[in-house]
């Protein structure tokens, strides 16, 4: 082995794969999250039936070979609606977390780099945004612009901004206090370059964990908004709206109210477990304390 190769900094996280395989929380979470992603992916190309196809003669069918989970009050295939509903969950999670990550991390890093009044302003704005839970923002936006998926995603995304801003600011401040950052500053590097080269790579693990948990929260929030009629609108299937429709049929077809709830709960459980597992894997010190 050459000397140069011997002193090369190890890339990635050494032993991550082996440790991941020994972490049951991560494994179960990754399996459930993988199933959610797979369902969304498969539904892009194939579903047993078109999910919005109304078939009144076959309404409220029990599960069978033709309709794996039966049909609803309009004869729509439940399994197909669940599959296509997974797309919705993924899109909402990705966009809402994306908004939080992009804006929140930028603000958090700015606050940590600039400190002083910029830091104070960003943190007070974050405190202020916490006073507007996603549902209240969605109610306001829905009252004006009408309910819809975009309104829901925006409301959830806006609520994610202060979450990521606070976390990235806290983690970035710790990085700014490290000696190698001091050395970079002494070498004349500016805040932007230090943030790009040192801060962001070092806070990435914290952000990945939070993104996983916020993804789960976004799925829950979208389901609640769709249940209330403020999220996804017909004919696009959504797990929340399926529950709303199922509630009117509780006496005739109680199982209709079970399937979408199980889908939401398993997706959220999977993402939360994966987040917990990742936290243990990426921050072993914290794992030992737990």
């Amino acid at each position: 082995m050459s000397t140069a190769a011997a002193v090369t900094r190890p890339r990635g996280l050494p032993g991550f794969g082996a440790r991941a395989l020994r972490n049951p929380s991560f494994l179960v979470g990754a399996l459930l999250s993988g199933l959610l992603a797979l369902a969304a992916l498969v539904s892009l190309f194939w579903a047993p039936y078109p999910p919005a196809e109304i078939d009144i003669p076959n309404k409220l069918q029990a599960p069978s070979a033709a309709h794996w989970l039966g049909t609803d009050s309009l004869g729509r295939d439940i399994a197909s609606q669940l599959l296509v509903g997974a797309q919705n969950a993924i899109v909402v999670g990705l966009v809402a977390v994306g908004i939080g990550l992009l804006v929140g991390v930028a603000l958090g890093c700015l606050a940590a780099a600039r400190r002083g009044w910029v830091d104070e302003l960003v943190m007070r704005a974050a405190d202020f945004t916490f006073a507007f839970p996603a549902l209240l923002s969605a109610i306001m936006l829905g009252a004006i612009y009408g309910p819809g998926l975009l309104t829901g995603i925006l409301a959830i995304g806006i609520f994610n901004i202060p979450v990521f801003a606070r976390i990235s600011r806290g983690a970035a401040q710790a990085v700014w206090a490290r000696e190698y950052v001091l050395a970079s500053r002494a070498a004349g590097f500016g805040p932007w370059r230090i943030t790009r080269n040192h801060v962001l790579p070092n806070i990435a693990s914290v952000l990945i964990v939070q993104a996983t948990i916020s993804f789960a929260t976004a799925i829950l929030a979208e389901a609640a908004l769709s249940y209330l009629g403020l999220g996804t609108q017909p004919p696009q299937p959504s797990w929340g709206r399926m529950l709303n429709e199922a509630q009117t049929m509780l006496f005739q077809a109680p199982m209709l109210a079970v399937y979408p709830g199980v889908a939401i709960a398993l997706s959220v459980l999977g993402l939360n477990l994966m987040g917990d597992g990742l936290r243990d894997l990426l921050d072993p010190k914290l794992a030992r304390k737990r």
């Binding site: 009252a143 249940y227 403020l230 509780l250 109210a257 709960a265």
Partner: protein, 320 residues
């Protein structure tokens, strides 16, 4: 007053002021013509002009804002467009359902979470701890409105012990009574408490475990205090700080949860009021309800800060 509390009071008042500006701006200025939004696309120019005059939209925005905030501070609110009643009256009437529901849910949450959290911490890494943690992980993943539907399915549809929704009223004149009213709120409160308790139980467990590792706890045990005495006298008081933080943050979730669960159980509370207002395009009600809910969240967070200072005197001392 300590610097800590003074700062918090200032932040509290500033947050309320900025929130009122934001709610006013979003609901009155952005859409262009509020009267048009409220009356719909088929409204005639005459009806739009009449509603604009009634709502005071012909006046400058600053004057309207001052009139609105001044009215709120004096308990004087505009009339609802669809009910033709002051929104304060509507809100006060609906609070008779929402407040007891929220209080009941919070009490259930606290009792359940503290009991489970302390139990799990006391049996760290044993079967009891693992079971509580697994159950809480599941509780966090279950949407409260779905759990509410499952409760209806079990207790109203299968067992037929309670009705599937609705509220009989608090007095016999309304056709109900205290017991009937409480009976109608118990399932919604359980549905709300499950998720909140699951989160809080995990926080309680972590906080108790953290404090149990402290030197002063070891000293207390070495002095001859029993495990139970140490827990009650030393551990719980110190573990309450993170628990209080999360309870404050959870209050916002509780409010939004109440809005959703009221709709599941068709309870005539604030949640139903705001959704009927959206359906009727009654922006006056939406504006006042949203402002009221935001104010409650801000007030509760402020009270939690005050409680911190009481529970942890170091906070006062550090800023003074």
């Amino acid at each position: 007053m300590s610097v800590f509390l003074f700062k918090r009071l200032f932040t509290f008042l500033a947050t309320l002021a900025v929130a009122s500006v934001l709610v006013f701006t979003v609901l009155e200025l952005l859409p262009g013509n509020v009267a048009q939004v409220m009356l719909g696309e088929t409204a005639t120019p005459e009806s739009i002009a009449a509603l604009e005059k009634k709502l005071g939209l012909d006046k400058p925005p600053l004057q309207r804002y001052a009139h609105w905030v001044g009215g709120l501070l004096q308990g004087r609110t505009a009339n609802s467009f669809s009910y033709d009643t002051p929104t304060a009256e509507l809100i006060a009437e609906r609070l008779q359902v929402t407040v007891p529901l929220g209080v009941l849910a919070m009490v259930l949450t606290t009792v359940l979470a503290l009991a489970l959290g302390i139990y799990a911490a006391a049996r760290h890494n044993q079967i009891g701890d693992v079971s509580v943690m697994a159950a809480s992980q599941l509780g966090i993943a279950i949407p409260s409105f779905w759990f509410a539907i499952l409760l209806i399915l079990l207790f109203a549809v299968q067992l037929q012990w309670v009705s599937a929704g609705g509220f009989p009223g608090w007095t016999e004149d309304d056709g109900g009574g205290l017991l009937d009213g409480l009976k109608a709120l118990i399932l919604p409160a359980i549905a709300l408490a499950l998720v909140q308790a699951a989160i809080l139980a995990r926080v309680t467990r972590s906080a108790v475990l953290e404090v149990m590792r402290e030197d002063y706890v070891r000293t207390a045990r070495a002095k001859g205090l029993s495990r139970r005495q140490t827990l009650w006298r030393h551990v719980l008081r110190n573990a309450m700080i993170p628990v209080l933080t999360i309870m404050g943050l959870q209050f916002a979730n509780l409010i939004t949860g109440t809005i959703v669960v009221e709709n599941v159980f068709v309870l005539p509370g604030i949640g139903r009021l705001v959704f009927q207002a959206i359906a009727n395009r009654d922006l006056v009600v939406v504006r006042d309800v949203v402002m009221g809910l935001v104010a409650v969240v801000v007030v509760v967070n402020f009270l939690v800060d005050v409680l911190y200072a009481l529970v942890d005197p170091r906070l006062k001392a550090s800023d003074a």
